[in-house]
Amino acid sequence: MLSGIAKLGRVGGVLALLAIIYGTMCILDFSYATRWSNVKEVLNQQGFFAVLTLGVGILILSGGIDLSIGSVVGLSGVLFVVLMKNGLPPFQAAAAVLGVGAGIGLLHGMLVTRLRLQAFLVTLCGLFVYRGVARVLWTSPDRPGVRGTLEAHPEFADELGQLSEWLTGYAISGKFGYPMMVVVALVLAVLIGLILHGSVYGRYWYAIGRNEQAARYAGINTNRQRVWTYVLCSTLAALGGILTFLSEGSITPESTGNTWELYAITGAVLGGCTLRGGEGTVPGMLLGAAVLPLLKNLINRVGNMPDVRAVIPSIDPVIPIIIGLTLLLGTMADEVLRRRR
């Protein structure tokens, strides 16, 4: 039976994990597990993290890493508001923010390929620097939010409303319709999936991730390809910043996005992108990204149960422990199954 699961590959494994988590929740509280109001919340979060995971997944697969994702999310959110506050209409502001994200990715890529700096270090510096910039950009004491923006520029209400509803499912009023972030994630997944699994670039990325030297000797412009993967990752992180702002309604410059790079990377690794490089699939990344939000949902539900509440007043501290253990067990299972394959 184990070898059967092994043959299904990583995708099968993550699917099984998702089934176990969801199954547990169904057993615990079936009505909660199937209530649309809860399901759409979880789906939206899964979609959000899938956006980040797709970016970092491609990067990891080609041998890179990015620790600054969370800070880029925060910075992008702040930048989005700042641009709008200064008169730039929402659509253009969003485009500009994505451009900045791409620029950050370009910077990372250049430092790693031209100056031969280690990606871990470069993006770690980015983590600190971008967070600092976000705080510097927003000087007023109140948090950058949708309401504040619309007070300053009421004419943006239509555009902002459209962006918000189409990308996240949240209306300006805060009313939550459909989990549009899942749709965004799926659209991105199709596009990126086509490139990764069907185009020459995907081949190049796998080759570079497995053996950069051999890829170079085969005529691949490894520097250029790597830069593209960094650009992709940071651009998607910037998109994440916009999505966060629109779905939450506000950004906290000091903390929005903190540790999210770890969630993104965990999602990628669970989905099959080993940190060695050269492995990973888009379906895997989607499923991997879906695990943590679902797991968090389960843990919160468990934490709310009266029997549990009596013993553990707040379930919050337990969440990272469970997440860490899940990642560890998932990786161990992968190693075991890998040997049987």
Binding site: G198, S199, Y206, N211, A214, Y217, A218, G219, I220
Partner: protein, 483 residues
């Protein structure tokens, strides 16, 4: 594969024994057995008449045998004194190091080997190669070495540093230390050795005493076997145009004087030379891996200045690299993946890979090159050396190159596949492809080439036409002897 077969060697106290032989003759293996890195399968080692058995380097060190590798084994970031005592520091309770004592002892050792004692606390990375060499010797002495084995000690030294090394060796010898000196620089051997033992194909080929050491005698011992393998060169084209020409080419990390040579259309040029002669580096420069800093390269009349492999490929130059596992293949990926990797532009439509074309290419190559595999999806890492090499060849031949550079094309390849690769080379030559074949396999060079070009220390040492071919001539040129 047997590396050493029934080899005898002897070293007296206070003697310098040089060990000489071609690439693959067994010198390194023998030294590693002396130093405890390898264990011998049969035979015995005696020290002072006592039988010894080494189970590791520590055993050899305890008996006073020290090996100084060609690529020095120093901790670059630590000081000279720290390196000298690394692993056997003078220690007290709880590992507290007696730095003062060590500095003094280090100073004494440094004096003995001719190193300026003021450098005792300098980080090793700041020293010149010659000085680093002396640190290694001082370290060996700190371990009370009675035998010091030096593997190609002068490969990165200047003439001045080399002379100083000779003085150190002389003084060590006079003090009773036995020295084993491995080198292919026959002039040095003559200067330094009391005795030379020559290895050939894992056997003893002969010994010479100091008085009898000369270039010709050494060459005669190093070389000298019959060509056993049959090399299929049926198609030798008489009239050829010059296909590939390099004039005065200099490259990054290469010698100051440029190098020039040509390859004709349909001609197989064998490039011979010792390890470190600069053959691979030259090929890498042409292929765009190394930066070319001067000179001109032309292929079929058009200039080639490749700053990246893709540019060389576009000009029609391809290279089968020396290390196929590192540079030639993506081991975890399938045969189809590897064959298509440098050919994706022709196998794709609007940048999307057409799998049908990829599979067709795979099938064509597998059948033409007789690659033994049940399927195209098999990871190349699981193939035999010969089949792996064919995959590397296949991926390049799919581009219809004009110039094919082969770097050690049959290294690690079994006899059967070798024959098949030779016949492929012959077919390619017949169809007009120029072949630049770098090889350390003497038989292969003599058997397959239309013309032999020999490199020595980065420079062209000489050329041999078919009627001048002989192992002795090649070795003479390769070791820097007279033409």
């Amino acid at each position: 594969m047997i590396a050493l077969d029934n080899v005898d060697a002897r070293l007296e106290r206070g003697e310098v024994l040089a060990v000489v032989g071609e690439n693959g003759a067994g010198k390194s293996t023998l030294m590693k057995i002396f130093a405890g890195v390898y264990t011998l399968d049969s035979g015995s080692m005696l020290i002072d008449g006592r039988v010894v058995r080494f189970n590791g380097v520590a055993d050899a060190l305890r008996e006073g045998i020290s090996l100084i590798h060609q690529e020095l084994n120093l901790a670059e970031n630590l000081s000279v004194a720290a390196n000298i005592f690394l692993g056997h520091e003078r220690r007290g309770l709880l590992g507290w190091m007696h730095r003062g004592h060590m500095a003094a002892e280090a100073g004494a050792l440094m004096h003995r080997v001719g190193l300026d004692e003021a450098l005792v606390d300098t980080p090793v990375e700041q020293l010149a190669p010659g000085q680093k060499q002396l640190v290694e010797i001082a370290r060996a002495l700190s371990l009370n070495a009675r035998v010091i084995i030096m593997d190609e000690p002068t490969s990165s030294l200047t003439q001045g540093e080399t002379d100083r090394l000779y003085q150190v060796i002389d003084s060590l010898r006079d003090a009773g230390v036995g020295i084993v000196y491995i080198s292919h620089r026959l002039a040095e051997v003559k200067r330094v050795a009391d005795r030379v033992t020559v290895l050939r194909d894992g056997h003893n080929a002969g010994e010479l005493d100091k008085a009898d050491i000369n270039h010709d005698a050494l060459i005669r011992l190093m070389v000298g076997r019959d060509l056993k393998q049959v090399y299929p060169r049926k198609h030798t084209v008489a009239e050829r145009g010059t296909l590939f020409q390099m004039e005065n080419v200099r490259y990054e990390g290469g010698p100051a004087d440029g190098i020039s040579f040509t390859v004709g259309a349909g001609e197989v040029v064998g490039m011979a030379g010792l390890v470190g002669a600069g053959r691979t580096e030259l090929a890498e420069a042409v292929f765009g891996i190394r930066r070319v800093t001067g000179g001109t390269i032309t292929l079929a009349g058009k200039p080639v200045r490749a700053r990246r492999p893709a540019q060389a490929m576009r000009a029609g130059v391809v290279m089968v690299p020396e290390d196929r596992r590192l540079h030639g293949l993506i081991l975890d990926e399938s045969i189809a993946f590897n064959l298509s990797l440098p050919n994706l532009d022709t196998l794709s439509l609007l940048r999307f890979v057409r799998r049908s074309r990829e599979q067709a290419l795979g099938r064509d190559m597998v059948s033409w090159l007789h690659i033994k595999t049940p399927s195209l999806a098999k990871p190349v890492g699981l193939l035999s050396g010969g089949n792996q090499q064919k995959v590397v060849l296949g991926k390049w031949l799919a581009r219809g190159p004009k110039l094919l550079i082969l770097d050690e094309p049959t290294r690690g390849v079994d006899v059967g596949a070798r024959g098949e690769i030779y016949s492929i080379i012959d077919q390619l030559a017949a169809s007009g492809v120029g072949i630049w074949m770098i090889s350390s396999d003497m038989e292969e060079v003599l058997g397959m080439s239309d013309r032999i070009v020999v490199l020595h220390e980065g420079q062209l040492a000489g050329q041999l036409q078919r009627d001048e071919f002989s192992e002795e001539r090649v070795m003479q040129l390769a070791t820097g002897g007279h033409r």
